[in-house]
């Protein structure tokens, strides 16, 4: 029997974290969240638009069922990330934070040094920190040593749908991590999510592939199955790969 996913002492039965960006309507987002089976949904922070002050995503997410995981998107350095994390907590979120420090608008790649700096401050400040990082095994180990609750290496750039293009490094991260490894960013299809779990990743985070799909609700259900398939296969034990063939029918040739 599978163990549930445990992050910072909290138990989750779904291994699919879901982002809430880019959905065409709150209704579609709500349906997709439901279909995904997720228990953790990420959100961002932005200024209230004074012309439209009532608008809030909270109406669309039942916070009694889902853990809201605010991210620090928009932060270009450690200081901005820390400020965002504290604002999220002040806005009533639990002290969980998806830490992303991204100086680069084109590829949205995280800054390892600033991420480390912000992680140190936030961990000391009592936050449960889930850092979004390059697939760098040494960086992942340093963050873990600082006390982050997970590491979240990227498979490929955010929203690129390219899948796991950093496989070698993620395998090393998984081999060594003592905290859950959540593959984040770039997972564009259920097969990518299944692959991550088959490799031994503890969970994945998906947003774009679901939100921009022609049918987000079905795609969310598809990712749910992909994640479960990958996890089941990891637990059942995958066969080794061969460079030659191995007959599935008896090798005693017919009539021989």
């Amino acid at each position: 029997m599978d163990q549930p996913l445990v992050i910072a002492g909290r138990t989750f039965h779904s291994r699919l974290l879901m982002g809430t960006g880019k959905f065409s309507s709150p209704e579609i987002m709500t349906k997709a969240i439901e279909a995904s089976g997720t228990e953790i949904v990420t959100v961002a922070l932005r200024r209230v638009e004074l012309e439209n002050p009532k608008d809030s995503i909270l109406g669309a997410i039942d916070t009694s069922r889902y853990l809201l995981l605010p991210n620090t998107s928009g932060a270009r350095d450690a200081e901005e990330a820390v400020r965002l994390a504290r604002l999220a907590r002040a806005a009533g979120c639990e002290p969980w934070i998806k830490l992303e420090v991204i100086p680069d608008p084109q590829y949205l790649l995280p800054d390892p040094m600033e991420t480390l700096k912000a992680a140190e401050i936030l961990v000391k400040d009592g936050f449960i920190v889930l850092p979004y990082i390059q697939a760098d095994p040494i960086l992942a180990k340093r963050l873990e040593e600082l006390g982050t609750a997970t590491v979240m290496p990227l498979g490929s750039p955010i929203g690129s749908n390219r899948g796991i293009r950093t496989r070698d490094a993620i395998e090393i991260i998984i081999e060594r991590a003592t905290v859950p490894v959540v593959v984040d960013a770039g997972l564009g299809a259920p097969s990518h999510a299944a692959e991550a779990l088959e490799m031994g990743a503890d969970a994945v985070l998906v947003n774009t592939a679901i939100a921009v799909s022609g049918d987000p609700e079905s795609m969310a259900a598809a990712f749910r199955k992909g994640v479960e398939a990958g996890r089941d296969a990891f637990l059942a034990g995958l066969g080794r790969t061969l460079t030659t063939a191995e007959a599935s029918s008896p090798l005693t040739g017919f009539l021989r």
Binding site: M29, R47, V48, K54, S56, I57, P70, A91
Partner: protein, 66 residues
Amino acid sequence: MKISINGESREYEGEATLGDLLRFLGVSPKSVAVERNLKILGRSEMESEPVEPGDSFEIIRLVGGG
């Protein structure tokens, strides 16, 4: 008085507490976080926090994100 909200300068003549200001703006305190002059306010402080000329406020809410 002149105050700044989310980077825009505003004239405000209402009651001089943040609670009043938020009501005036139509913002529900439950769904936002507020910085007054870079100081983040706790839930409990919000209602009674004074609003004074030259104050600069950031009013932040949660939105969809990945």
